[in-house]
Structures are given as structure tokens and as C-alpha cells.
Symmetry: none
Subunit: 230 residues, 4 copies
DNA sequence: AATGAATGAGCTTTCATTCAT
DNA sequence: TATGAATGAAAGCTCATTCAT
């Protein structure tokens, strides 16, 4: 059944080859310190050839981001789809994230650079891409959170706000871990955070006292409110 | 009483002048897009003069980071020093952070760039600086957390891990807010997170069931453990 | 009678097709700004195919020039052949030139570029081509001028010099017209020039005074003389 | 009185130095074949230094054109100012042009290239510059022509059209001369043209016959007419 | 004959940094 | 101390041309 790859297939294969090489160089050197010649040399192809597939250096960078994030997103969707109860789903999401980041630990700084680049680039295509992915991930979070609430495992909480918070927390822990030189277990950090967020830190006494106020805050969230202000 | 400033004072004043101009340009254009001539022009001085104060562009960037982070750190310390009970201290820390970031909202992308730059720079001076500051801030967090525990407001928790987690979360929320285009209230987001972390999301039923396990996780933290591994 | 075109005929047809497309692109973009891919795209053929017909970009450019100039030259010869008396011939030559340039007004800048290119090209093939064509056109001019003189319509004049002068004038007016943005009628300009050159601008009084001197100049021309110098 | 040159004077001097070197290289190699490194090397300065004076290659090219045309224009104005009677003025204009072109014979192809470049450049600054200069030169021509007519040395002629025609003719002859490889005397060519235009080529017989018609044409010119059409 | 992927020399432009004044 | 002219390494990108299929 195996046939010679058709031209378009070859083209995509070469495109992937370039991307896979580029991600390594971008990751280890950073966007500005990576020169196109480096990528070409690593691939043993001519500089011009890269430009046949990616007209601008920035396009290559964006494609690298896309490739990477697609992998992450698909893994996250798979995590949710592969489990039935929301608790398992939540665990699976964390596992997936940890595994993904640990597997690509050396690419980690890239994410920071994508973010920095997105905020600087003259075009907002990077930002749009980031936001769209975040939106999709947040929807996953909302779904799981809602299920948790339906099963009375979670208290009433604005699931939209919570999902966004969780994404931020996830990135924040990862960021911390990278800046700290990956000196502790990323998984442990995520698990610790799960415990903190799950059961809270207050003692039962204090918890009872602030119950009403907390309840309100949780249900309000922080996203809907702000719409009223701005 | 007023005298002509001595030479060293003048020097420091000019240094500050350069820094204050530089931070604005770095913030709006980014590190790579900022050219030394821009800074000189804005100050109406010659390019060479900047080099009298900062031998390398990177030094200027680092000094900008230091100036900014010093302001933040001092505000954080003041927040703790100005209050007696740990609850007020915790609130003050959050307020300070929110106020600081909101006041300098336009400088926000800079922080990302500092981080990205730190991970890329050939010298690790940026990373060292970041880690030292994080360490000092974590100590603040440990102090407040310990007080909370002593007063039986917080459950037993590894305060070192919690402080690091909190820093990560704080950065993560900020990062999210920046990437999302600052479209919601940063303060609301921080307050929401405070509620989530404080009282947790589990219902009492679930909370009781997982009590032991959670208790253990919280007390272990994630930092000491990892020492055993690596 | 109609048969499938033989291979060579097909080849020539395709060659022409390429030329006709190329002239439009060269005309609108200029030699350097025209890239071979543009030409191929416009023809919906592959880049490599063009090279089957024109080994170098310069060859394509030269062929475009040839095609264009051949058309002009043939029209000029036809103008002379189609009329009997020299006055009509002269009128027809002007008409032909005006019609040719007006018809191809959008190609006009090309001529300038051919000239510039000819003076720059490492090979002198362009210059040779231009000079040969000018020579043939000058011969036409000489023929008509001689006839005019024979019929005593023209004074004694060195017809070689006069023909060369006329060619220069013709190009000069055209050039002026192009640089001026084609804001006046090219035909009017040519007709005006015809009147000036034909009857001269001097009043009869002045004309009489300088008669001898002028007579001499006209008969000497400027071409034969210079041979003695260089 | 002689002092050390002030900074601005030095700057202008260096600018001129660059221009004088650049014109030679542009002239011998052409715009596209001239690379900035060539110019820098000839000056024994660094490439970057040229960019301190001329931000773009095109700016350098334009400045070369300006420098050259300024010299020509000033010489032309001087020619007119230095003589009283219009006949001498006209002679002086021709002499000046011939001398200018002969003196800079090796730069000659540059003019063609300026024109070609002007018609191609994305900015119209070149074209504007050319047209402005032509306008000023045409005004000179009008002035002299009018004086000729006032003294009854010239017949009635639309002096505006005639001046524009003369400019075109002048360029055309020069162009011819350049393309012909400067093989004859440019001065002789100009003088020959002066005779042709001055006294005309028609015999007295023919001249009398077409007198009315020619008279009308000369008085109409070709520039005013065209306004009515477009 | 036609294709189009691959090539790589080559060019403009930038800008951190230096240093003579 | 301050200046700003000079430097020159560096890098992104282009595109005519080649050639295996």
C-alpha cells in the first residue's frame, strides 16, 4: 500500500522537518539570537530554502508556536475525552500539562519568548493566536468545573472566572519553575496547588466566619464584574 | 542650607534621569526595538553620554529592572511593616501588588521581557537578580503564612512551598491579564484568587473525605521533597 | 488545409506569448523590479520554462526590445513605401512615430530603460542593436531628405547630419513628453517641431543677413567634420 | 581670518566628498551595479559612515543628481546674466550646455539613468525635481525667445512651446550623442541644430507657399492647445 | 518540454560601541 | 564629562539560475 509520497505530502514533510529543527534552535538561543543561517545549517539546506516555506523569520517563529501549542491543546482535549468523571478529567488535565512541559522542558523558555514577542510584534497575529488558544482551554476548564459543581463536588463558583484563574495559575507555576531553574518537581508543584485550591487553607473556624463573604466572591468571579466598569 | 549638589550626587541624579527615560522607551518599544539613540534623543543628550553611565545596553536594561523591582520590593516590605495582624498584612500585600501593576500597567510587558531576557542572556546576572528578589519576597510570604498558622487561621501548610506558589500565582494572573489585553480588573482577579485559595472549592462533604490526603500534601509542600530527588 | 502546427511553429508561438507578457511587466515595473516569477505567474507557466526560451533575464529584455523596435521599424519603412512624394513620406514618418508611441504610451519608460541598460550592460549587444536600428532609420531619413532637396523643397543640407539630428529630436521630444507626464499631445509637439524645423524662426531680414553662414553650416552638417577630429 | 572649519562646515565638506566620489561610481557602473561598499572603499571610510550622510542609497543617488543639475542650472543662469543681447544669450546657453556635457562626458549615461530611475521610483521626488528644473530652464528660454521676438529677430512663435521643444531637442541630441558613443562633436551637433532651427530648411519658394499655415502653427505652439483637450 | 524546489551569492541597512576631541 | 562621527560586523531577505524528475 505504501506509495511514494506525493508532492504536497513531501512539501508538508519538509515543512515539518524545518519546524522541528527550528524549535530546537529557537528554544536554545532565543528568537533574536537565532539566525536563519543557523537553522539552514542544522538542516544542511540553503538559507533560501527556508524562505520557500516560511517567507519571514517571524512566520517560522509563529509556526513553531502553532505546532507546539497544537500538540498541547490536542493532548488537553484528549485528557478530557478519555475520562468520564470530572475528577479524573481534572487530574488528567494536570497530568497532561505536567507531562507536556516536562517532556519539552528545554523548550520551556520559548513560551515566555512567545508571550514577550506577542506583546511586541507589530502584527497582533501572535496575540490573537494566544488568546484563541486560551479561550479554547478555558472552555475545557469551564466544562469540567461545571460538572464538578453538578456533582456537588465543587461549591458554587463562577466557572468562567475559575477557568481563567486556573490557566493563569498554571502558567504562573510553570514560569516560576523555569525561572527557578527547574529545581523542583513541576508535578509536585501542580499537585500542591491542586490541594491548596481544592480544600483551601483556612481552618474550619475561620472558614465558617467568612463563609458568606467568600461564597459571594466565588459566585461573582472577576470577569463578569469588570464588564460593568470599563 | 541648600548647597550645590556634590559631583557624586549629580552623577546619581543623572543616572536616575537616564533610567527614568529608558524605562519608558523599553516599555513601549521592547528591548530589541529600543535603540540607544532613542534614549539619548529623549534625554537631549549624546549617545556617548549614556555609555558613561551604563557601559552596555544590557546594563541599562538591568538597571531599569532593578529600579523597578526595588520600588516593588520596598512597597511590599512596607505593606508588611505597616500592619500588625497577618490578615491585614496579607491583604496589604495583595493591594500593594495590584496597585503597583496597575500604576505601571504600560510597563507590564517589560516584566515578561525581563524574564525572557534573563533566560537568554549569556550572563546569569539577570536570573540571579530575579531569584534573589523572589527569595526575599518568598521570605515575606513565609513570615505572614507562619503567623497565620500560629493564630490558627491557616491550616498546617508548608509555608515555603506556599509562598513560592503564591508568587507564581501572582505572576501568572498578572501575565494572563496582560496577554488578555488588561480587559478585566486586576484587583478583582487577585481578590477572586484570594477567596479560592483561602477557602477552597470543595464542598464540605468532599473535603471531609479527602481530608487526610490533602492534609499530608499541604504539609509536605513541593519544595523540600524535590531536594531528595535531584 | 489547416494542420496541427509543427513543433517549431509552436515554439515560436510560445516565445511570442512570453514576450508579449514580458513587455507589459517590464514596462510597468522596470527591468530590475521585474522578477522572472512575475512573468511566469502572469503566463501561468513555470519559471523554468521561460529559461527554455530565454537563457538569461537580459536575453528576454533584449528580445522585448527587438520585438518592439522591429514593429516600429517596419511601420516606418511602410510609411515611406506607401507614399510617393517626399513631403507625404515625411508626414507619414511623423504620423507613424506618433501613432506608435501613443499606442504604446504605457511602454514608453521602457525605451529609456533600454537605453540606460544598453549603456550599462557588460556586453555591447544592446548598443549594437540600437545603433544598427538608428542607422537604418537614418538611411530612411537621408533618402527622404535627398528627395526633398532634389525637388528643391529643401535647401542644401547635409542629409546625413540632418537625419541623425531628426532622430535625436524625435527621441528628445518623446523623452520630454514622458518626463512631463504625457500632459500634452505628442502629435501637436511633433507638428510644432516640423514647422519650426521646416521654415525656421528667423525673420526674413535676419535670414538674409546670416544667409551665407547658415548655408555653409547646413551643408557641412556635423558628422563628417568630426571624423577629422577624433 | 582663516579659522579651523566649524563642525557643520566639516559635515558639509564630507558630504560633498562623498557625493563627488559617488557620482563617479554611479556614472561608471550605474545605479544598480553600484554597491555602497564600492563607494565606501573608494573613500576609504566605513560603509556605515555613508549612511550617516545619506540614509538610503536612493538619497545618495538623488543628491548626486541635485549636485550635478545645480551646477548646470547655475551655469545656464550665468550664461544669460552675462550677456545683454538675446543672440549672445542664446549662443551662451548652447555653449554652456555643450561645455557642461563635454566636461562631464563620462557622467553622461547617468542622466539617462536618472530619468529611467525617476520614471520607476516609487516616490515621485525624482520626477518632481526633474520637472522643477525643466520649468526653470524653460523660463530662461522663454525670456530669451521673447527678447528675440521683440527685436524682430524671431518670427512670432509661442515662446513657451518653443522653449519646451528646445529643451527636448537639446536632451535628444545629447542622448543621441551618448548612444552613438560620442563619436562626433557635440558642439557641432548643437550648432548644426541652431542653424536648422534658426533659418529653417525650406526653400524660399516653398516657404512662401506654406507661409500662412506655418505662421499659425508657430504661433499656436503645442502646449496651450493640449490643455483644451485633456 | 515543462516543472518548481533548491540554491547561495549578494545587497542594503542597522546599531551597539568606540574614541578623539 | 560630554560629544557625536565613525565604525563594521551582522543578518534578513531576494531572486536569477540550475537541474533532477
Amino acid at each position: 500500500m505504501a506509495r511514494t509520497k506525493s508532492a504536497p505530502e513531501n512539501r508538508m514533510a519538509k515543512r515539518m522537518l524545518i519546524l522541528e529543527t527550528a524549535i530546537g534552535i529557537f528554544a536554545s538561543k532565543g528568537y533574536h539570537a537565532t539566525i536563519m543561517q543557523d537553522v539552514a545549517d542544522d538542516l544542511s539546506i540553503a538559507k533560501g530554502t527556508i524562505y520557500e516555506y516560511f517567507p519571514k523569520k517571524e512566520d517560522l517563529f509563529l509556526a513553531v508556536y502553532d505546532m507546539w501549542m497544537d500538540e498541547y491543546e490536542q493532548a488537553m482535549h484528549k485528557a478530557v475525552d478519555d475520562h468520564f468523571d470530572p475528577v479524573s478529567k481534572a487530574d488528567a488535565l494536570i497530568d497532561t500539562t505536567v507531562e507536556f512541559y516536562e517532556k519539552h522542558a528545554n523548550y520551556a523558555p520559548l513560551l515566555l519568548e512567545f508571550w514577550a514577542h506577542a506583546l511586541r510584534s507589530s502584527s497582533d497575529i501572535f496575540l490573537v493566536r494566544i488568546r484563541e488558544m486560551k479561550k479554547r482551554l478555558a472552555e475545557l476548564g469551564v466544562e469540567v468545573t461545571n460538572q464538578m459543581q453538578k456533582l456537588h463536588l465543587f461549591r458554587k463558583v463562577d466557572s468562567g472566572s475559575f477557568a481563567v484563574l486556573e490557566l493563569g495559575i498554571s502558567d504562573g507555576i510553570f514560569l516560576q519553575w523555569v525561572l527557578d531553574g527547574q529545581q523542583y518537581s513541576l508535578r509536585d508543584a501542580y499537585k500542591f496547588r491542586q490541594s491548596v485550591i481544592g480544600s483551601g487553607l483556612m481552618t474550619d473556624t475561620l472558614r465558617t466566619i467568612v463563609a458568606t463573604k467568600v461564597e459571594k466572591k466565588l459566585q461573582q468571579g472577576f470577569i463578569n464584574q469588570s464588564i460593568n466598569r470599563s
